[in-house]
């Protein structure tokens, strides 16, 4: 019996796209489900904080493991001094540029490879190689070849993400409905109209999956890029704090940026997904 390849795992039938359950949630839970839905999350977050406080107290070494209170204090200090906003802003700017570049280039590549089996055969080996090069190698090479500048930093991040987006979108493209393609052809719909009204709505769950994993991956890589070769951004600050073994500072900066990324997920990605999935609901 042949072992199921990675492809078989990611292949989703059009009726069961990766994010369908999430899209179905808002109407399944209706408005009553919203508030109780937050409770388990908050409780587990509280438990985590308590565990941290207890561990900090037991360690008894605030330099090695500062308690939540000390980190909170540090967080407040960097926010009040304005330092947080500048460096988080720089990091966010790099995340946004690399994200947009990776989604557009990776999306186009995945779409083309999903549509054309010939192109897929030509480009697939390159894609597999790119998927398996460690992020660190791409970053170091980009800095050496292009120089210690912004272009190299953003390009290195995008290059790490492009193959991931391409693979997700290739699977989505392979599952496009041929009957709708036929319809668009008979009615002679223009290319842009087809992309916008026929193709992209079918790829929405895959785009959402690529975006969500993309944002998570990209900000982690941006931090490494900044750590290695930038003079601002959250990664640069962590580099400085690392040299002075300032654990409270490292934790404060990372927690602040995790909060920013969570806010982007909740404020941008989820509402967009809910909108893209509206047609699945029953109410008119």
């Amino acid at each position: 019996m042949p072992p199921p390849g990675p492809r078989a795992v990611t292949l989703a039938p059009p009726s069961a796209p990766p994010s369908a359950p999430r899209g179905a949630q808002p109407h399944a839970g209706a408005r009553r489900g919203r508030v109780p839905g937050l409770v388990p999350g908050l409780v587990s977050l509280g438990a985590l904080l308590a565990l941290w406080a207890v561990a900090a107290a037991l360690t008894g070494n605030p330099r090695r493991l500062p308690g939540p209170w000390a980190v909170g204090h540090e967080l407040f200090a960097i926010a009040a001094s304005g330092e947080l906003w500048f460096h988080a802003g720089m990091t966010l700017f790099r995340v946004a540029l690399a994200f947009v570049a990776a989604m557009i280039l990776g999306g186009a590549l995945g779409l083309a490879m999903g549509r054309s089996p010939r192109l897929d055969r030509w480009l697939d080996p390159t894609l597999v190689i790119l998927l398996n090069i460690p992020a660190l190698v791409i970053i170091v090479l980009a800095y050496i070849w292009i120089g210690l500048n912004e272009t190299a930093a953003i390009l290195a991040v995008a290059l790490n993400k492009i193959p991931v987006v391409a693979v997700i979108l290739r699977e989505g493209t392979r599952a496009l409905r041929p009957d709708l393609d036929d319809m668009a052809r008979v009615f002679a719909m223009s290319g842009p109209a087809r992309l916008r009204h026929v193709v992209l709505p079918q790829l929405a769950p895959h785009l959402a999956a690529a975006a969500r994993t993309g944002v998570a991956l990209i900000w982690k890589i941006v931090l490494v890029v900044e750590f290695l070769g930038r003079s601002n951004g959250v990664g640069f600050k962590i580099h400085l704090l690392f040299s002075s073994f300032d654990v409270a500072g490292v934790l404060a900066w990372s927690l602040a940026f995790v909060a920013v990324m969570l806010a982007i997920d909740a404020g941008l990605l989820r509402p967009w997904e809910a909108r893209a999935n509206r047609w699945r609901q029953d109410a008119p």
Partner: protein, 194 residues
């Protein structure tokens, strides 16, 4: 529209044999035959969706089709399903939806419509394209006799008004007769027209 077909095979198995089909503007033709004989295959060749055949094909610019399934865009509302593929304006689309009995349903998504309503929406979409040649694949299946009758009359009226040609695939000779379409029967293996 003129199609001179030599043959169409699937995996070496010939389904359609040599046949010639010609439909001029205003002319109506019905293609009859048992299930699996190749009616949809023939229609797909005429529509330009199947290019893997031996023969020659010449068709007018503006085609429209009513497929065997409604084939709507599930993520677009009913009205947008008429306007987007056809480029028809809002008023014309609303008027057609009214004529097929879908007044007031313009903000529904396809899955909020019954199958019969979806079929009628697909009919409205085809007319909204103002085609020179209309291709229909069992468009009235699964409609009750009353509704099917009204849709047939509507189709006839709209064809009269636009002067478009029609190729109708059906298994019901009465449908062909009611539209005044010349019945042609597919039969044999590989199938030929008679």
């Amino acid at each position: 529209m003129r199609l001179e077909l030599t043959s169409r095979s699937f995996a070496g198995r010939p389904v359609l044999g040599a046949l010639t089909l010609e439909v001029r503007r205003g002319q109506r033709v019905a293609i009859l035959g048992p299930s699996g004989i190749g009616k949809s295959t023939l229609l797909r060749i005429v529509a330009g969706l199947d290019r893997d055949f031996q023969g020659r094909r010449a068709v007018p610019e503006r085609l429209a089709a009513v497929f065997q399934e409604p084939t709507l865009l599930p993520w677009r509302r009913a009205l947008a399903n008429v306007t987007i593929p056809t480029g028809a304006d809002r008023a014309a689309a609303l008027a057609l939806m009214d004529q097929v009995g879908l007044a007031g349903k313009d903000r529904h998504f396809p899955r909020q419509l019954s199958l019969g309503q979806q079929r009628r929406l697909s009919l409205a979409r085809a007319f909204a394209a103002r085609p020179d040649l209309l291709l229909m694949d069992e468009p009235f299946a699964s409609l009750d006799a009353d509704t099917a009758g009204r849709m047939l009359d509507l189709t006839a009226a709209l064809l009269d008004a636009s002067g478009a040609g029609l190729i109708l695939v059906t298994h019901d000779p009465a449908e062909a007769a009611r539209l005044g379409a010349q019945p042609l029967t597919l039969s044999g293996t590989p199938a030929r027209l008679a």
